[in-house]
Symmetry: C2
Subunit: 345 residues, 2 copies
Amino acid sequence: MTVTIKDVAKKAGVSPSTVSRVLSGHPRISLETSRKVKVIMEEMGYTPNMMAKSLVSKTTNSICIILPKPAEELFSNLFFMELIRGIVTQSSRSGYDVLISSGANEKEELESVSRLLKGRRVDGVILLYSRKDDAVIDFLESGGYPFVLVGRSDRYENILSVDNDNIMAAYDATNHLISMGHERIGFVSGPPNLIVSRDRLEGYRKAMEKNGLEMRAEWIVEGEFLQDSGYRAMSFFMNLPNRPTALVAVDDMVSFGVLRGLNELKYKVPEDLAIVSFNNIPLSELSSPPISSIDIGIYHLGYTASQVLIQSIQKPDNHDGYTNRFVIPHRLIVRESSMYSPVKK
Amino acid sequence: MTVTIKDVAKKAGVSPSTVSRVLSGHPRISLETSRKVKVIMEEMGYTPNMMAKSLVSKTTNSICIILPKPAEELFSNLFFMELIRGIVTQSSRSGYDVLISSGANEKEELESVSRLLKGRRVDGVILLYSRKDDAVIDFLESGGYPFVLVGRSDRYENILSVDNDNIMAAYDATNHLISMGHERIGFVSGPPNLIVSRDRLEGYRKAMEKNGLEMRAEWIVEGEFLQDSGYRAMSFFMNLPNRPTALVAVDDMVSFGVLRGLNELKYKVPEDLAIVSFNNIPLSELSSPPISSIDIGIYHLGYTASQVLIQSIQKPDNHDGYTNRFVIPHRLIVRESSMYSPVKK
DNA sequence: CCTCCTTATGGAACCGTTTGCTTTACTCTG
DNA sequence: CAGAGTAAAGCAAACGGTTCCATAAGGAGG
């Protein structure tokens, strides 16, 4: 049988309350008793029952990650795994356990979250996406449950969120190309309904504008976060009369598509087309040539999300109402794909 | 305040026990009462408190995944994420929640597992690795806790595990090359202390032997599950006087390295060297040329692990002592990298 | 020397469920 | 019509902790 607090108490010749107090470091316990009890706990191999603890304390010391449903793609998987690592590491340091949940659809997701939170199985939630409207967010907000969003939502202004400054990141990426001497720079964007696509596009625009460079509509192509989009964008760009000498792609996968296409057509990177993209997945440095990429600090994103959430769980009142958006720094990793200055005409 | 079973009972004019029985579908509750109570539960937005439930039932309806510590590599991340998806999906179908845990080192891992299991926070554990000796496994076994291993351990014969038949998989891969007409086939192995490396090597051996093909020691190279190993193996093979016309690589990443090397030296795949590898990561079909690979059904591996574990939790006695190793089928995905029959001399 | 604190501990209620044992009120049977 | 049998629901004791309140012992102050 499992050894309980009562067993320890009996053996130590004290009351259960005393044992409990020893456990929680209560000030009014004599050193002598404390030592004695601790020895006996060790001897008997006592481990506190978390359920009983949770029942009375109304706190579980665990949080929950909501995993989006489909996310079959390569990057999503890498992204989520890295994020999870960050979350789990930090949570574990703060003494929290992490639960993973996902549902086949939004309704299931909502049910699951509701069950976990109302059923007092977790203390808070990390949401790993930024959909535009969201029943789950509504539920969390109206229920007053602690949660943080990884990503950004423009509909909900004052909720806790952890994100990159994608506008700035794209600005930096574009600027890097400009500083290498490029003037005709293309942009391969992602789905326009994603905030990240829009932000990165805006950053590109800003950089071009700031530097007084021409911006042609035909230099901006919309796509997915997939190789194919890159492949298609590439062939479109390369057939343009006055084609770009460089491009910024919203995602490394897109770059791979571009690379593959250019390779087939015997173009050279970065001489014929310089490339910078985002996310810096492990493969970026392994392709030929290695791709310059903006590292968005995924692990750090997760780590911070956990920190923010747990903080908000422990002192819900501490929220100042201002700093609810946490920005994780990005950094540009320059590799071969952009190490070339075009010859000026 | 949260609404409890007592609140519902009071409002419905019945006793808490009756409400509880309605909840669990007890046979001796009249239809009338049952309906009435259900309506009131709905009205009041009642959600059972899992902690209280767990406390009395001594069961948590949740399992825990132990994530290995470093696993910085690309494949590991893809592998784990896919596995987690499988586990989470199946667990959720069985009404179980999934906890993720990891520790910085084996000691921390053990502490964590011990706390979770002895503290009654989870009912069972899925181990995602197959180290040779393992304090965690020892703890789980001696404590009689339900757990399953993803992977194979040869030291522990009678524990539940879910795995591929890597010997057969390698046999199939090799056989495929043989049936295409190859006779000189190389093998790039992984670290020799990993069971998966040894199994795959053995499968290769078996296939060669069975077909009466010559096996030269120089055709077998040891490496890591990394591009670099492939790159090095490639240059070694290609410099051999009577070089292989095909090779089997333990991992797709290795193939990528081989591919990169061959590309640099202007060799053609599959004409100069045909390639088959393992794991069928999403990138395999995107490289040029796409790589033939053995799909090991990672998602399925996770799905089954969860199934087996939950089964073992629910009826621990049902274990027949024979079928404790569950084998997930693999399948060969033939792509361009092996679609070529060498010209016989 | 008695009262009043202070300090260390014990007692008991409670957290929200489940469940074995009763109790109650019928219905059936001989 | 009495006794047995049965269906439906209630009572109360757990489950393993925490914590408020009470208590006992010892020391200080008057």
